[in-house]
């Protein structure tokens, strides 16, 4: 069953001079139920645009995004997103922050509270339920943001560089928590990341986008078991092979080589 699908999606923006910029063009791909797909590409290639279209915040210039086989016509309860910024509200306690989404969707309060507390327990944050965001570390705050995303019980999670603002050690821990939460809740996810290793160890499949106008230029299936344990996956011999393939496709090495050549 397909959870998230983009069919020939394009997006044009007006630029400062009044002209039109094509952010993405002819993007088509599908993410199946319970699948985790990573999306990588050079900065400014329109990855976040794709995510905003998926969550219904922006309407594409052409083409359609589908979630649970329904065309996305605006924000809907099937999708929830999480950004690199935790976006926690400083005036709400941790548990109230987790409940923001469900509260907006006017679901029953007792049910939501129970669910929020359960999620916090899953992220070992029970003791902090009544704390305020400023009392938590960056890693903890990001975990709360993930709990808030999961609290609305979406079909699809859209994750835009969720861990790029935390330190390297915290990131490793958070990656595992995300992987386990996704496994536990059997959620479908689209993960945008700059970190090639993160893309490989967290996903079933990696999609590579080209420079602007962004298109999907390559798809690599990650054939390493145990997607719920990035610790173990990280040590797999195949990881470095995948990473060099990704670097190749992104032309990361070549640009550096060219600039270091002596001029003739």
């Amino acid at each position: 069953m397909i959870r998230l699908e983009y069919r020939d999606v394009a997006m044009h923006f007006a630029d400062a001079t009044g002209g039109s910029v094509t952010a993405i063009e002819g993007v088509s791909f599908a993410v199946g139920d319970g699948e985790v797909v990573a999306l990588i590409g050079p900065s400014g290639c329109g990855k976040s645009t794709l995510l905003n279209i998926g969550s219904g915040l922006y309407a594409p210039s052409s083409g359609t995004a589908f979630v649970d086989n329904e065309p996305v016509r605006g924000p809907n309860a099937h999708v929830a997103f999480m950004l690199q910024k935790d976006l926690l509200l400083p005036w709400r306690t941790i548990v109230e922050n987790v409940m923001l989404g469900v509260e907006i969707q006017r679901r029953s309060r007792e049910e939501c509270l129970r669910r929020a507390l359960e999620l916090l327990r899953g992220f070992s944050l029970s003791d902090f339920a009544n704390h305020y965001p400023h009392q938590l570390s960056g890693g903890m705050r990001q975990r709360v943001a993930l709990a808030r995303t999961l609290a609305v019980d979406p079909s699809v999670l859209l994750l835009d560089e969720p861990f790029s603002a935390v330190d390297a050690q915290t990131r490793i821990v958070l990656q595992r928590e995300l992987a386990q939460a996704l496994k536990r809740t059997r959620k479908t996810a689209l993960l945008i990341t700059h970190d090639l290793q993160e893309a490989v160890i967290l996903s079933d499949r990696v999609l590579i986008m080209s420079r602007r106008p962004g298109r999907i230029v390559e798809e690599i299936a990650i054939e390493i078991g145990g997607r719920d344990d990035p610790f173990l996956r990280r040590q797999d011999a195949k990881v470095s092979g995948y990473i060099s393939r990704l670097m190749d496709k992104l032309e990361i090495g070549q640009a550096a080589d060219l600039s270091s050549l002596p001029s003739t």
Partner: protein, 263 residues
């Protein structure tokens, strides 16, 4: 609270109290030592005696409560109007663009200069005084609320939208609470400005309020009376300011603890 901080507060309070004693002593004996006549700077005891005399002879408490009521009403209505306009303009960039030259013009115009006009319109009642206070309080509150609404992270709004929030939900759950810290910053300013507006109104015309007593004392060359009025006005402003601070600490209880010295 750490022991360090407690001792900091204790030392600060002791120094403040010592300064007050030094100030009162200088006020009491300083003028005569420097040969300043008491009709220029009356000593503290003389001002206190005048205060006691005015309580009965001039209905000091009645005039004080008139001024206090005008300050309170002007402050409340001016802040409310300022906040409402701040939110409306904050939500509609078009309205802000269209109205900004007029708002700027009104903001540049010295509000106290309107006092005689309002008295011409409304006579020697409390209304012109309240109106000046409203006008003077309106701008700082409106500007702060507007800036706060404009400054909200668009991703925060998008987060709420992605949870299918309605416009009203975005306002009540994101925009309104986000505007609270800058709003309270402006209310602190507004509390002191309201007193200025009311006093100017009372100075210009009327027969009640501390501003009226000020001109009355001036006419009689009663310097201690002028001093008493200034002190009472400061007291009203101080209480209003303290009221804002106390409300702020309650409403913004979630903020990281700030030193009380930042009053």
């Amino acid at each position: 609270m750490t022991a360090n901080r407690r001792s900091f507060i204790r030392r600060g309070t002791a120094a403040s109290a010592a300064l007050l004693v030094i100030f009162l002593a200088a006020w009491e004996w300083g003028p005569s030592l420097l040969g300043i006549p008491s009709f220029i700077v009356p000593p503290a005891s003389m001002v206190y005696a005048e205060f006691v005399r005015m309580l009965t002879a001039n209905h000091l408490l009645f005039h004080t409560s008139v001024t206090a009521a005008e300050v309170l009403i002007g402050f409340a209505l001016g802040s409310l109007l300022g906040a409402v306009f701040g939110y409306l303009l904050g939500m509609s960039p078009t309205a802000e663009f269209a109205l900004s030259p007029y708002i700027l013009a009104l903001q540049i115009a010295p509000k106290v200069a309107f006092a005689p006009l309002f008295i011409l319109w409304m006579g020697f009642t409390i209304y012109p005084k309240i109106l000046v206070a409203i006008l003077i309080v309106f701008f700082p509150v409106m500007v702060n609320v507007l800036t706060a609404i404009r400054g909200i992270d668009p991703d925060l709004i998008n987060l709420a939208r992605s949870f299918t929030a309605s416009r009203a939900q975005i306002f009540w759950k994101i925009e309104f609470p986000s505007s609270m810290p800058p709003m309270f910053a402006s209310l602190r300013i507004a509390a002191t400005l309201a007193v200025v507006g009311v006093v100017v109104g009372e100075l210009v015309g009327g027969n009640s309020g501390l501003g009226y007593l000020l001109t009355f004392g001036e006419g009689q060359a009663n310097t201690p009376m002028v001093f008493v009025c200034i002190l009472m006005l400061t007291l009203i402003g101080g209480i209003a300011y303290l009221g804002v601070i106390i409300t702020e600490h309650r409403v913004l209880h979630y903020m990281p603890a700030r030193p009380l010295g930042g009053l």
